[in-house]
């Protein structure tokens, strides 16, 4: 029952918001953007609203990693071209194994890794990596942000506890837009 949305303001909105996110590139302006174009933009925008703890060795780039089967295709690469977050150049890296996620700031965990999720999250435990997924109950299971669809609109859930444990601070502005969930693995699958 806890998963069901309560009467939140954004749920009452229709699917009329056909506008593309401001960050999307000009070429797709006319056609309504695809789901993964929106998700790519969101993925990048999350970086603006999350604070990472200071690191002893300053990173050379802001790395966005995609673990497992990449659903974005070229969209993500095109999007981050020439972009910076917190004065760091944004780069995209695709990983096979979670052990390679050493310098990742944001880790998108593809649905293909769903079965290994517990292992992945355990591996990342104690490291300041923002985990983003799109699997069912991803956030409930210990992921931090989970994309979900409400009709044609892309929305997201946030598990602030998970982010807090990883030492990440999520902006209240972002929290305001999200559905907040808490860890409840036993009620899942």
């Amino acid at each position: 029952m806890g998963v069901l949305p309560k009467g939140r303001a954004w749920l009452r909105r229709g699917a009329a918001c056909a506008l593309l996110c401001a960050s999307l590139s000009a070429q797709v302006q006319d056609a309504p953007p695809s789901e993964y174009q929106v998700k790519a933009a969101f993925l990048y925008n999350f970086g603006r609203f999350v604070e990472w703890p200071p690191q002893p060795r300053p990173p050379s780039a802001f790395t966005i990693c995609v673990l497992g089967q990449d659903p974005f295709g070229p969209v993500l690469d095109e999007l981050i071209k020439g972009k910076t977050i917190q004065d760091l150049k944004v780069v995209v890296r695709r990983l096979e194994r979670v052990e390679d996620a050493g310098d990742c700031r944001i880790l998108f965990i593809s649905s293909s890794e769903d079965v290994r999720l517990a292992h992945i999250l355990a591996t990342l435990h104690g490291r300041s990596v923002l985990t983003v997924g799109e699997a069912e109950r991803f956030a409930h299971r210990g992921g931090m942000i989970n994309f979900r669809l409400e009709g044609a609109k892309v929305r997201f859930e946030i598990n602030p506890d998970a982010a807090g444990q990883a030492g990440l601070t999520i902006s209240s502005q972002l929290l305001k837009l999200a559905r907040i969930v808490h860890e409840s693995p036993q009620s899942g699958v």
Binding site: A9, W10, K176
Partner: protein, 506 residues
């Protein structure tokens, strides 16, 4: 336009105070209002700018994550600012993302179309403040916040200020009127008192009055100066009075000296004339005896010489008699009594009858008054004047001699007019001098003492005598006398010569 010039100092001062304070208040209020107006605008602008900033930064995430409801919620917070009619958020392409309009206001249609990202700007247009603020995050423009606000609040506030200012203005005007009315007495009161004092002084010619000393200001100085002036006038008055007294004393002294001298001179001339009589009697007596006893035996030349001596002696005798007479008049005490001039003149005419014998003489005698005089002296004067008139009308076939009296400026004037040979007015002042003669002795005999005697008599009576005439057109003699009821002493020496001059010019 009120004309201040003719107002009293009281009113002037009050008006000056009120106009001054009024002008100051109006100017200050105007400046205050103008400042308030611009301050309101600045304040409103700053407040709305802050609101826009807040809305902008609060809706950055909503814009980035396409959450229109969240953005509209953020905008709805603007309800707290009642001036805001409408607000909107545009995305970076310039499309309307979220909008807000004040309850009851139809603002949707008034929202502008914008193209892409808008630069920050604000403008007051048509009673509205329009404000555009870019939504910036991490240096990246995400969209634009638009806020439209009316100036009603501002208008309300300014109206309230105007009402308050008008109240203050009215109250201050009233207060300044009261204060000015009280304070004007500080200046006006002493001035009015001074004016009152000046009026008393000028009306009563009382220079001993002093104005009450005032404060130590300009008016006080004026009062002090005024008092000093009064003191000076008073001092001068006293000095003038002293001077006049001294002058009177000096005149009296001189008059007494003069009278003494005149008396001395009269005495001298009397004794000279008197002493001349004895040798003259010898001359005339012995020349007469010579003519009687030895006349026939003398040759004709000697007889003519003798005759000349006898004539000279007779002439001299008359002269000495006249002089003695004149001197006696000066010395003689007057015995005045009311005397009718008509009867006196009748006696004179009777005495003169022999002289008018064989001549046509018309006497025209008017009604003459009773006067207070010494009858014998007055008779002498009338005699001299009448005989004078008879003498100088001798060349006329018919002599007309008028004697009349008239009252001129309260004084009785006796007039003797004849149609004789007259005289030139050039010599009018010499007529009454002793031994002064205008005619040759061959034409008219005389000693030149007659008119001098008249003058002395009239002066002794306190009157004046003068003459008018023209050559060949007769002469008129005037003298004045006081009427019988006015009793006074005429023993004073009078300035007769001056009176005569006055008379001749009239």
């Amino acid at each position: 336009m009120l004309n201040l010039r003719d107002y009293s100092i009281r009113k002037k001062l009050t008006w000056i105070c009120m106009l001054t304070s009024g002008a100051v208040l109006v100017l200050a209020s105007a400046a205050f209002l103008a400042y308030e107006w611009t301050a309101f605008r600045g304040e409103l602008l700053a407040r709305l700018s802050t609101q826009a900033q807040i809305v902008g930064s609060n809706s950055a995430a909503a814009l980035l994550f396409q959450d229109q409801p969240a953005a509209e919620q953020t905008l709805a917070a603007l309800k707290a600012e009642p001036e805001i009619r409408a607000a909107a958020i545009y995305n970076r392409e310039g499309r309307l993302f979220a909008s807000y309009s004040r309850p009851g206001a139809q603002a949707e249609s008034s929202l502008p179309r914008v193209a892409g990202l808008q630069a920050d700007r604000e403008s007051f247009e048509g009673g509205n403040l329009v404000l555009l603020r870019q939504i910036v995050q991490n240096g990246e423009g995400l969209g634009t916040v638009y806020i439209q606000s009316d100036l009603q609040g501002m208008g309300r506030r300014v109206r309230r200020y105007v009402v308050i200012l008008l109240l203050i203005l009215g109250a201050s005007f009233l207060a300044s009127f009261v204060i000015a009315s009280r304070l004007q007495s500080l200046i006006a009161q002493p001035v009015l008192e001074l004016a009152e004092t000046a009026k008393i002084v000028s009306q009563g010619r009382d220079y001993s009055v002093r104005a009450r000393p005032g404060n130590r200001d300009e008016v006080g100085l004026l009062i002090e100066t005024f008092n000093q002036m009064l003191a000076q006038i008073e001092e001068r008055d006293v000095e003038l009075g002293k001077g006049r007294e001294q002058l009177e004393q000096r005149v009296e002294q001189r008059t007494a000296e003069l009278a003494a001298t005149v008396k001395e001179l009269e005495g001298f001339s009397y004794s000279v004339a008197h002493d001349l009589r004895a040798p003259l009697r010898h001359i005339s007596g012995f020349s007469n005896m010579l003519a009687e006893q030895y006349g026939p035996s003398l040759d004709p030349n000697a007889q003519r010489y003798l005759e000349r001596i006898q004539n000279g002696a007779r002439q001299m005798g008359m002269l000495v008699d006249d002089l003695l007479n004149l001197a006696r008049i000066g010395r003689q005490e007057m015995r005045c009594q009311a005397t009718g001039l008509n009867s006196l003149l009748d006696e004179v005419l009777a005495d003169l009858k022999p002289e008018a014998d064989g001549r046509k003489v018309e006497w025209r005698i008017g009604r003459l008054p009773f006067v207070e005089c010494d009858p014998s002296l007055m008779k002498q004067a009338l005699y001299n004047l009448a005989s004078n008139a008879l003498k100088y009308t001798r060349p006329r076939e018919k002599a007309v001699i008028e004697v009349d009296a008239r009252v001129q400026e309260g004084v009785t004037v006796i007039v003797f007019r004849d149609n004789g040979v007259g005289f030139s007015m050039k010599y009018a002042d010499k007529l009454f001098g002793v031994f002064q003669r205008l005619h040759r002795p061959e034409d008219f005999e005389g000693t030149g003492v007659g008119l001098a005697t008249v003058q002395r008599i009239i002066h002794k009576h306190g009157g004046r005598v003068w003459a008018e005439g023209e050559l060949d057109k007769g002469a008129t003699f005037y003298f004045t006398l006081e009427p019988a009821d006015q009793k006074s002493s005429h023993d004073k020496i009078s300035t007769g010569a001056m009176a005569t001059h006055d008379g001749t010019s009239s």
